[in-house]
Amino acid sequence: LIFDDGLGTVALGLNLQLSSNGLQSAESIKSLRGTRESLALTDEGNSFGSDSELNGYTSERQTDKYGFIGGAQQYSEQSAEDIPPEVLRQREAKWLDMLNNWDKWMAKRHKKMKLRCQKGIPPSLRGRAWLYLSGGKVKREQNKGKFEELDRQAGDPKWVDVIEKDLHRQFPFHEMFVARGGHGQQDLYRVLKAYTLHRPEEGYCQAQAPIAAVLLMHMPAEDAFWGLVQICEKYLPGYYSVGLEAIQLDGEILFALLKRVSPLAHRHLKKHKLDPILYMTEWFMCAFSRTLPWASVLRVWDMFLCEGVKIIFRVGLVLLKCMLGSQDKLKTCQGQYETMELLKTIDTRYMLEGFLVREVIIELPLSERDVEKEHLAQLRRWKETRGELHCKSPPRMHGAKAIMAAEPPSRQDLRQNPTIIVESSLATNKNVEGQEEDKARIKTKEQKNGKKTGTPVASNPEPSDISTKPTPPIKDAPLQGSNQSLISTEHDTYL
């Protein structure tokens, strides 16, 4: 077994911890749900509890399977759907194969890769997959030592001050970020500060923090930094720049697209003078990470990092259409404030993983060209009404393929750099064979062979112990863990 850059270790640790979560009694799950509901009642929008409630959680340390204390990120568990472990194992094998042959997959089988992103990336490989999709992996390889260098430098006090004030205000109910000065907040600081040094002309925008935090939940600081760089420069260029023109322009684009998707919703918003930036700023700038149930956030990000910003537009359009798309619904929200309130408290059923992903993939075939066409039209309008843009952003890249084409990596850049290799592959193979069907097994072997050409570095006794001992409890631990939790998907679309 090979562990990549410490990520594997992270995933393993998570699995073990999750499996213990999976054993929670029905009673304790029920009590968690209760708190969640009471939270939702006490607070509009983001359902976070009061100080005393938080203290209650921290002492109990009850986290949901995503690490949110007391399921604070809106209805996460109810919305996630379980996948059988065998399917999960197959998917992991397929993703390992893709990661090992990334350039080939991108060049020749991109459609299939897209499909797999739509079906959901296996949680154990999500961080690595995101880094590859975003091009962050290539950036990291081509700029070796860069992050370390930025990390060592002192930041501009102007930015450092603001960043420090924000550290405890990012997913404050996620176990990683709950402790003041804890490792999550420290890494968040490092990543955001490094960005201000990397792009001093942009500095720090508060909406970057949730993006960085989501990445940090899945990868180490250096990787999260490059992921953030890619999102800010390739996926959402200009969003976090002074003046926030790009987000305003995208607001106009969204509104124009809505006219086609739901004329009724469009008319309603227009009638009540609801400027798009009133409702879409947080959605788009944080890539829905603060809006949707967590299972849905992950699935949206899987697709977003593969296909680009059109996914964000689609999600926005789905939500607007669902919330404002019928006369019935509009009757109850006559007025600007009422409409805003409605859009702040989106009906959970429209945000559930299965429903949302289906809508985004099937019901809303909005293409890159549609977005680009509307972009040009709105840009023209902007220039007519408001003059030239003050901030010239680089062109937007629509997803992983475009990014890779724009900056072609060398083979070397794509190679996985294992930091831990466990030599006794026989024992592990047996272990794997016992559980998986033939097809998947062959792929796993293939990827293992491929891996051997990589650079073996060190071996770590701890993970090797775990992976080589085929004793049932340990062998089952990650399996059970991922089955009970983490993974999120529509149940009718297995690979």
Partner: protein, 212 residues
């Protein structure tokens, strides 16, 4: 619920001065030190009574970081009152008041009532801005002034309610054109069904009082 008037407020000021905490203290009567950073806009609403009339306050809470200014501007539209907040323990948040005020004056209607708030008055030992300085600034710019603590709830009610009183007086004086919603004031539903005799009688009053 029936109300005689609805006032729209906006809360502005530098990041981290306690805007969201003030709002939460006013609407929910609780202090929550751990919360998500405001990106874009958040809301709250509460009913208050002035002069025997039910008034609904609809409060828009904004992002404080400078880069969000261009967006915050669009929230000023149609606000009857603004709470301009600084942090008494951070001099820079006080120094930025002028630019906030310029922004507010430029993008709102001219009658908007502005309340200057020096928040975090519970942190006396860390005070960097004297109360007199806040008062002087308010006097100079024609604002109402108060020091509050979102943590202890000191003066929070008063800050929101005094602003409403000022708006209400302006309505009585005929300064506000209440038929123009762009002023941030709405007359309540005149034929609203009410569930208490008290507000029922107010509903009647308000139907007659539409002339001001």
């Amino acid at each position: 619920m029936a109300y005689a008037y609805l006032f729209k407020y906006i809360i502005i000021g530098d990041t981290g001065v306690g805007k969201s905490c003030l709002l939460l203290q006013f609407t929910d009567k609780r202090f929550q030190p751990v919360h998500d950073l405001t990106i874009g806009v958040e809301f709250g609403a509460r009913m208050i009574t002035i002069d025997g009339k039910q008034i609904k306050l609809q409060i828009w809470d904004t992002a404080g970081q400078e880069s969000f200014r261009s967006i915050t501007r669009s929230y000023y539209r149609g606000a009857a009152g603004a709470l301009l907040v600084y942090d008494i323990t951070r001099r820079d948040t006080f120094n930025h008041l002028t630019t906030w005020l310029e922004d507010a004056r430029q993008h709102s209607n001219s009658n908007m009532v502005i309340m200057l708030i020096g928040n975090k008055s519970d942190l006396e030992s860390r005070r960097e801005v004297k109360k007199e300085e806040g008062e002087a600034f308010a006097r100079e710019h024609g604002l109402i002034f108060m020091e509050t603590s979102a943590k202890t709830a000191s003066n929070v009610e008063e800050a929101f309610i005094n602003t409403a009183k000022e708006i209400y007086e302006k309505i009585q004086e005929g300064v506000f054109d209440i038929n123009n919603e762009a002023n941030g004031i709405k007359i309540g539903p005149q034929h609203a069904t009410t569930n208490s005799t008290l507000s029922g009688s107010q509903g009647g009053q308000q139907a007659g009082g539409g002339c001001c």
